[in-house]
Symmetry: C2
Subunit: 606 residues, 2 copies
């Protein structure tokens, strides 16, 4: 026996003894270690593997205890033949070629269309600028806290509670935690019998659709909207009414009156991230009440309005149990966990529970108990606070960078938060092409046509998400994206060379700026004014209520305008060539690209 | 502040610091601790709770780090108001009374019938004799090994692999483990694209039914059979053909020819536990091939034929991909985990995967990875070996006890293993009543009418399972059950007092026994002979091939026959009054109950 019967993996997280045991079990069960042959002595195997003899002795002992090996006196260790006996007719012959008859392929019921969901490249983590939404960011995962909760859920007393057959019941501890720690954040008060745990938000939606929708039930969906919901509804043959989305969220009008069910994503509309206004929410509830429709409120994301206070959920202002609220724990924590929940009238929960029992019994109870501990220890709250801060920082950074670098290419849909921005590019932009080109430069952005069911998908819109890109890469990613836009629009973009207007220098430059107020519209739709005070001070005000203020200084050097804000534009010195075109002042950066365009207004006091 | 703001739970598994933190978070989030009020000093709280001051200091510090508390210089600790600000419009007002309008209740689609699944009492663990099947027995759960696998799956490298959005993919490591460690036990070879992980067996069945069945597809099911499958098929409106079950498993005859799908539980038929013979398996496959039907093989239980070798799965002898094999990991390990899988033609797996994606995306990936480690470390094999031994012991014990104590009340269906016995009582038995009465005496047995869809359910059959009752309680449980049967049939049962036949004593007794061979049929249908040798030796042979042999001794004392086997009847001394009725010898125990009935045959040599 010249070769070792097993080899160890130096990168394994298992200790040596566990590895030896694992590999021997493999060899025994798969039959690669011949029956009847004696195992190498512990000394010999230890030598071959380069490990301490005791390590092998302990692994062998464990395998004897467990019945894999038997020790024959004065002869050594052998594979226990009973281990393989229990493997029915294990044949090592190649598998026969089998083929499902063609008839059968035609017999599939309700074959799903090939309308595949949009997917980012599997290796997206290798892209330097992944502007994605909803992907897991491992740097945010609360490893230590989740391990603690998991360890607690594996206590013997706990195992007793979750391991058995519970029929159709959920973990009462998790229900209680959701009821007292999560729902109050959304203004929702619920009794335990109004809550059902689901295998992710998707199962909650599936159950509701199975329960309430068939081909006789017209359903309103948002357009653009969540494709996973549309597909569920299409499977049931429901007639769909596509309701447009404006800056207040889904439009509420008479088209809703035919709909028995209205599906809506009020906190951040999927995919535009627009928050539904309070007036709109009231209007929606009123119309639903008048027509006796039900509302499915998909609150898929954690609460994250960075610019205003959070709005309460629709369900919290619903006085007649008309809203079915659907959300999840795992989307932000770890999508792989698949833990969602729904809150609705007890009658609906009761029926959904029966359906769930028929389909999957219940979501795994060990995960329910782990999540319950995670919540009860306050870790979920802590995690959300951390996430909120992180995403807020990233979201604001993305918004600023787009505003600064891509002002003349893009507009952003009005949003108060969320984890993505809906961006509209120039009219003639072909986003599919741009997204492909961007990917070649390491930038991932999301085309949006899969959010549209009708043929109205704009060709020039895309989404940029912030759940996966580190804060420090955002600015550079946007800069790279601008370079791409520049390259793609080379002959159409205004540069210092080809721009109209007089190149200001000397006193002309000083006069055009000093004492003026410059007015512009920034890329997210808010107005912005900059006062250029004679004493070298800059005062900037952005937003309708001037809620974003900054100060800075300016000076002229080498015939160029220099300015430096304390916060804006990352507090860095900006150096610009200036052209005056009518009453419009144009700023060009050192590469000749147009950076900003202002209407200049002389201060009245002058 | 005379009272403590929180109280500690002496039974909690959390350490004191974690408990203090958890309870304070609760108080803060729920608003029970008034805003603006100062928290008690660490010294004061430590005094109130009776813990070391440092414990409170550390808990406070953690809450400050996490942003729950803020420290105001020279003033103390306060609740950070921002924590509660993030909870939208939390109102403490009582919840409004809401009611789902009556119209809506009528609009539920495909309302599930109230035909509720049979359920054991929730507190079954408090019954001394729970003869149940499929319930979790915590004494068998491999706590240490599962914890180890769980810990490994929570390694940072692992989390990265399972936590994210994987689309519709399963954990490749689990697929590989199932392929190489579980399926070969059943004789099945499968490629990765032939395997799909599901949320328990139930989801596998649901997906197959959704994919292949509608109201135009006749389906054969076993009668009696698994109610969960019938309900799924009924939901799709499938015409059902009820196929009876005999001692070789489901009957294969021309009634199957109309069926496009045949649902079967070959390894142990649900609920009778009969194993389908190899001839029957071949016949089933041949008939399915002739009619181009598909077969759904539900192999819900782990392999456990105690009396014979395991039969290979139908799928392993299926040469044209006609069998969809469904099984699970969690049923025997911990039903609460909900981990099943299916093996089928890649086209079927592919469509089922799309459906699964629409319904739940995928089963939780942390559990998939944990199970993968559990398998790869050999723990699952070890666990099954342990389970096999445990259940074998219990199963044989139950069979023996029924045979010994209840010979005149019951027959058992022929079974080679499994985790329950199908028992037929006297013709006039009303099992519902008996089960109720048994429960009052601490014995749980399972009525069987819920396994029948037709009105043919026998009133006198029941099931006794062994997955939850400790070995040492089985005999006593059966004895208690016999007492119940005695009480219920008081005037109908033969006792020493009322039996016909001559009471043998003295020389008459000796002559009737000595040198005779006594022949009987035991309760599981096998013949049994006992030679009563003149030298005081007993030789017992049971089974058609006399595979169960034992020896013992006999003597007469106080006009009673005494006998003691070395293994049979627990090796205990049995003392019997004897009556001779024609050529039938009847034995009565000391309480006067009939214990055995033999036909006596003089040895020919005599």
């Amino acid at each position: 026996m010249a070769n070792a019967i097993i080899y160890l993996d130096p990168d394994s997280e298992l200790n040596l003894q566990a590895q030896i045991r694992q590999k021997l079990v493999d060899a025994i069960v798969l039959g690669t270690f011949p029956e009847g042959e004696r195992l190498p002595s512990s000394r010999k195997l230890a030598d071959q593997l380069g490990v301490a003899r005791n390590t092998v002795v302990l692994a062998y002992q464990q395998l004897i205890d467990e019945g894999y090996l038997i020790s024959r006196e004065r002869s050594g260790l052998y594979v226990n033949e009973k281990v393989r006996e229990n493997h029915a007719n294990f044949t090592s012959a190649a598998q026969p070629v089998r083929e499902l008859t063609a008839t059968w392929r035609r017999r599939f019921k309700g074959l799903l269309t090939t309308d595949q969901a949009f997917a980012f490249p599997h290796n997206w983590q290798q892209y330097p600028y992944p502007f994605l939404e909803g992907q897991f960011d491992h740097s945010l995962y609360p490893v230590r806290e989740w391990r603690e909760a998991s360890r607690l859920a594996l206590g013997v007393r706990e195992i007793n509670e979750w391991a058995g057959e519970t029929g159709d019941l959920d973990d009462p501890m998790l229900i209680e935690q959701i009821r007292t720690k999560i729902l109050p954040r959304r203004g929702i008060q619920a009794r335990p019998e109004e809550i059902l745990i689901t295998v992710g938000t998707q199962q909650a939606l599936h159950l509701v659709v199975e329960l309430l929708v068939d081909s006789s039930v017209p359903v309103a969906v948002e357009e653009p909207g969540y494709p996973g919901m549309r597909r569920l509804l299409a499977q049931r043959g429901a007639p769909l009414v596509y309701q447009p989305v404006d800056e207040q969220g889904m439009v509420v009008d008479e088209k809703l009156d035919d709909c028995q069910i209205i599906c809506v994503t009020p906190s951040h509309q999927t995919p535009t991230a627009v928050t539904m206004s309070m007036e709109r929410r009231e209007a929606l509830l009123a119309r639903a009440r008048a027509q006796d429709s039900l509302i499915i409120e998909d609150d898929y994301e954690f609460e994250s309005n960075y610019l205003t206070h959070p709005h309460p959920a629709l369900r919290s202002i619903d006085t007649d149990d008309r809203v079915i609220y659907v959300s999840c724990l795992s989307k932000v924590l770890a999508p792989g966990l698949r833990l969602g929940f729904m809150v609705a009238a007890p009658e609906i929960i009761n029926e959904a529970r029966k359906l769930r029992h028929l389909m999957v019994r219940h979501p795994p109870l060990n995960n329910q108990r782990t999540a319950a501990f995670f919540l009860s220890l306050g870790h979920y709250d802590t995690f959300l606070m951390h996430l909120y801060q992180t995403f807020e920082e990233r979201w604001i950074a993305l918004r600023r960078a787009l505003n600064y670098y891509m002002l003349f290419y893009v507009e952003m849909a009005p949003a108060q938060g969320g984890s993505s921005l809906w961006v509209r590019g120039p009219e003639d932009l072909d986003v599919k092409y741009v997204a492909e080109q961007a990917a070649k430069r390491g930038i991932l952005i999301e085309p949006v046509d899969h959010y549209y069911a009708t043929s109205n998908a704009p060709k020039n819109c895309f989404r940029m998400g912030i759940t996966s890109i580190p804060h420090e890469r955002i600015r550079d990613g946007v800069l790279q994206l601008r370079e791409l836009f520049h390259d793609l629009t080379k002959n159409k973009t205004e540069t210092f060379e080809n721009a109209s207007g007089e190149h200001l220098t000397g006193q002309r430059l000083k006069d055009a700026l000093e004492g003026n107020t410059m007015i512009s519209i920034i890329a997210y739709g808010d107005p912005c004014t900059i006062e250029i005070c004679p004493d070298g001070l800059l005062v900037g005000k952005a937003g309708y209520a001037s809620e974003d203020l900054d100060q800075g200084k300016w000076w002229i050097e080498n015939e160029r305008w220099h300015r430096q804000w304390s916060r804006w534009a990352w507090g860095e010195v900006g150096i610009y060539d200036v052209r005056l075109d009518g009453d419009v002042i144009k700023l060009f950066d050192e590469d000749g690209w147009l950076i900003d365009r202002y209407v200049a207004q002389k201060e009245e006091t002058e």
